[in-house]
């Protein structure tokens, strides 16, 4: 591949900087690009925001200068707003907890960025993700977990199409984080010891609720009731977007036994509270399922980033819906997050969690009779969201981490 041209999505962090460096060493003709995702980068510096700030662009530019590669900042704010931020807001308003990094990879880095690279005649897109891709003997491209499973980010990449995988490069797939920092130091990159970003990059100060409230359409923010398992009203709240499944804090219920958000019903505006045991689910519905490998009937399923995959049976329903039945109950199945199917290191595919499934395995009655509702011509596009928030099972994770 020596001499092949590649675009590296550079965030100004150590991972994408080293990804660019390794490609240079491997002989690629590297062009670094940072994506401008907000209209006011100067403002984000003033606000002390971590990502997409002028400070990060400066860091990326300095790395590019050090590596002797061309570097540009491209304005992808409109695409990002329409395809990621608006979806993020709408999902919260539906009582779901979105995973925007999945969308950003699929729709920005490996789509919009690649499209724009067409002007430069560049086919390949590389990122600093900890993941691996490979081409099988049958010509199908495979997505694999990173060698460093603790850093693995394959969860955020399950939506990549065969075409997107074919043009992707993940130079960090075989490395650990300390390897990466060592490379950065060896090359004298100023970002070697830069701290990791842990938040969703476009939400300042982890204030998801404030972000949603600033962007919600008029009338979309509706107060509702906090109810117990029996439906009794315990308190009121300012909107379902302030909650995620498994949340403990901010319920305004005072002390006593630990109580968790166990269900969110956007239609009625009610947020259900229960004890930890109420968070357990035997299964979930994965919607808009996208397969990278051939469909399988068993897999280990990860229901959020850093969640240890859990063995499960998969039952395909029509309309790209897959029922996932865990061998053992899992806690806090959260609608809006991705359910990603693994076999060993390989990502088979995944979908968006639509709902937790109560009960035990052959709960066929729960599954919609899809034959009639499904239009034959409906392309199985997995893109985010859709289905109403509905109830859901169970547990937490102050919303989602990123580093996608």
């Amino acid at each position: 591949m020596a001499g092949a041209r590649v675009i590296v999505a550079m965030s100004g962090g150590v991972d994408s900087s080293v990804a660019a460096a390794l490609l240079c060493e491997a002989g690629y003709d590297v062009v670094g690009v940072s994506m401008l995702l907000t209209d006011d980068p100067a403002g984000s510096v003033r606000a002390g925001q971590g990502c997409c700030s002028l400070e990060d662009f400066r860091d990326a530019r300095r790395v590019a200068e050090r590596l002797g590669i061309a570097y540009y900042v491209w304005n992808l704010a409109e695409a990002f707003h329409a395809r990621v931020m608006d979806v993020f807001t709408a999902e919260y308003l539906r009582g779901r907890t979105p995973s925007p990094c999945v969308l950003c990879n699929h729709e920005l880095k490996f789509d919009e960025l690649w499209r724009r690279a067409g002007a430069l005649g560049i086919e390949l897109v590389a990122t600093g993700h900890y993941a691996r891709s490979a081409c099988g003997a049958d010509g199908r491209h495979r997505l694999l977990r990173a060698r460093d499973t603790a850093k693995d980010q394959s969860y955020f990449l399950f939506g990549l199409s065969q075409g997107q995988l074919a043009r992707s490069r993940f130079p960090l797939g075989e490395l650990t984080k300390s390897d990466v920092r060592a490379v950065a130091r060896r090359l004298g990159l100023g970002v070697a010891d830069k701290p990791e970003s842990q938040e969703i990059c476009f939400v300042p100060n982890r204030d998801y609720a404030g972000f949603v409230e600033r962007r919600a359409p008029a009338g979309a923010l509706r107060p509702g009731a906090i109810v117990d398992a029996d439906g009794r009203t315990l308190a009121t709240h300012a909107g379902v977007h302030r909650f995620t499944i498994g949340q403990r804090r901010g319920l305004g219920l005072g002390g006593g036994t630990a109580r968790y958000v166990t269900g969110i019903d956007a239609a009625s505006g009610s947020v259900r509270i229960g004890v930890k045991a109420d968070l357990a689910s035997r299964g979930l519905l994965a919607e808009r399922v996208h397969w990278i490998a051939r469909p399988a009937d068993r897999a280990s399923v990860r229901i959020r980033h850093r969640h240890e995959p859990v063995p499960a049976r998969l039952i395909e329903r029509c309309g790209n819906v897959v029922e996932v039945w865990f061998d053992e109950p899992v806690s806090a199945v959260t609608p809006g997050q991705a359910a990603v199917f693994y076999r060993g290191d390989e990502v088979l595919g995944g979908g968006w969690i639509g709902a937790a499934l109560p009960g035990a395995l052959p709960a066929r009655a729960l599954v919609r009779e899809c034959a009639e509702t499904q239009r034959a011509d409906e392309t199985p596009r997995w893109a985010a969201t859709q289905t109403a928030g509905g109830d859901a099972g169970p547990e937490p994770r102050g919303h989602q981490r990123t580093e996608g």
Partner: protein
């Protein structure tokens, strides 16, 4: 790879005469122009020579020249300085440079009356809008930095004067391309920039007609008639004066040459296909007035509707192709052009100028501006025209894909 520089509207290469003047002044620099000793006197001599040269280039009196760090500072001084002196009401076309728009916005935030004047699809402001706004100060750029559109400053100024207003003209892009005479233009304030016409960065001037209400924005010294404190940057100002004198001296020959280059590029781009649009809707033309017409028409191209544009700025829209990726692709071929409007991070954004002219957001983010000047050549133009077709083909190869399905939101 042969490098091509076609971004004069951002910054022009230093003219040799300016480099010489700059070097000489730097080598000789010894004193502060305000000092009473021989070192100060030498610096003062260079400074006042520069002031006389700049004044002569625009038909002003030397004491009407206030040197600044550049056009941005001069524009700020013009707007905020007249406001500080008591003017309350400002009007300006919506297509002005951000160094005029932003100070105007700051004034509006402090309670001043600020009127953004609409422009037509070809970028011109209707004098009737000036009359209606009846501003104390009209601020207008003679040549628009993004599109090259030449405003009819004389008519607009007359409309402002009829209402008792005074007039500021931002001539940063016009100087060196159009003959400038402050008496003929009948303006009270006029902005000049050194580096747009081949002088050094960090130098500019504001012409201030005697008697114009203007207060200093900074405090700290009596320099520049008390309007701009701080020790003057004598070497840069000497380079500025040399560059401006050279540019004016080369009119109209240099402009005639640059006119041919701009029109050559327009013709070549128009031949790239029907999907290509010029931001000012101006067709290529050889009806340029290159010295044959009245002196005031030098450096402009007369369009069929009677309006004018400068030939050295060519702003072209390639619908569906992001301006910043186009600029990057040309950069990879050694060609320096710009999108015309960059944000603080260096990325392009939907140009406020093009939006004001009625272009949609997508088109306004798909612009490429090439601009020429004293060292440009036909080979530069031909290099751009040779590089564009494969780049456009590559960009379009990926815009034809099926659009993403709308999200449920």
């Amino acid at each position: 790879m042969r490098k091509i520089y076609a971004d004069y509207a951002a910054s022009a290469p230093l003219r040799p005469v300016a480099a010489t003047a700059l070097h000489e002044a730097l080598a000789a620099a010894m004193g502060n122009a305000s000092s009473a000793h021989w070192g100060g006197a030498a610096a003062r001599a260079r400074l006042e020579s520069a002031r006389e040269e700049v004044a002569a280039a625009i038909g002003a009196h030397p004491l009407e020249i206030v040197f600044t760090s550049g056009a941005t500072e001069a524009n700020n001084l013009a707007l905020a300085g007249t406001a500080a002196a008591g003017l309350r009401c400002v009007a300006l076309p919506a297509t002005e440079h951000s160094s005029v728009l932003m100070p105007a916005r700051a004034l509006a935030a402090r309670g001043h009356v600020v009127t953004l004047l609409p422009v037509s699809a070809d970028g011109h402001t209707d004098p009737a809008a000036v009359t209606a706004a009846a501003p104390d100060l009209l601020s207008v750029a003679l040549v628009n930095a993004e599109t090259g559109v030449v405003q009819d400053c004389g008519t607009l100024a007359a409309a402002a004067r009829a209402q008792g207003g005074i007039v500021h003209v931002d001539a940063a892009q016009a100087a060196g391309m159009l003959p400038l005479d402050v008496r003929q233009l009948d303006v009270d304030l006029l902005t000049l920039s050194a580096h747009k016409l081949g002088g050094p960065l960090g130098a500019g001037a504001l012409y201030v007609r005697r008697g114009t209400p203007l207060a200093a924005l900074q405090h700290g010294g009596p320099q520049e008639q008390g309007l701009r404190p701080g020790s003057e940057n004598v070497p840069a100002l000497a380079g500025f004066a040399a560059a401006l004198t050279a540019a004016v001296g080369a009119l109209p020959e240099e402009v005639e040459r640059v006119t041919r280059l701009g029109e050559r590029l327009r013709l070549g781009i128009a031949a790239l296909g029907p999907g290509v649009r010029f931001a000012d809707h101006g067709a290529p033309s050889f009806a340029a007035s290159c010295g044959g017409g009245p002196a005031t028409e030098i450096g402009t191209v007369l369009r069929s509707d009677g309006t004018r544009r400068t030939p050295h700025i060519v702003n072209v829209i390639f619908p569906g192709i992001a301006g910043d990726s186009l600029v990057a692709a040309l950069d990879r071929e050694g060609i320096a052009v710009s999108t015309g409007s960059a944000c603080s991070a260096g990325a392009s954004k939907a140009s406020h100028v093009l939006l004001a002219m009625g272009w949609n957001r997508s088109d306004a983010a798909s612009a490429m501006r090439a601009s020429f000047g004293w060292a440009s050549s036909a080979a530069d133009v031909d290099g751009i025209l040779a590089a564009l077709p494969p780049i456009l083909a590559g960009a379009r190869s990926r815009t034809q894909e099926v659009a993403w399905p709308a999200h449920a939101s």
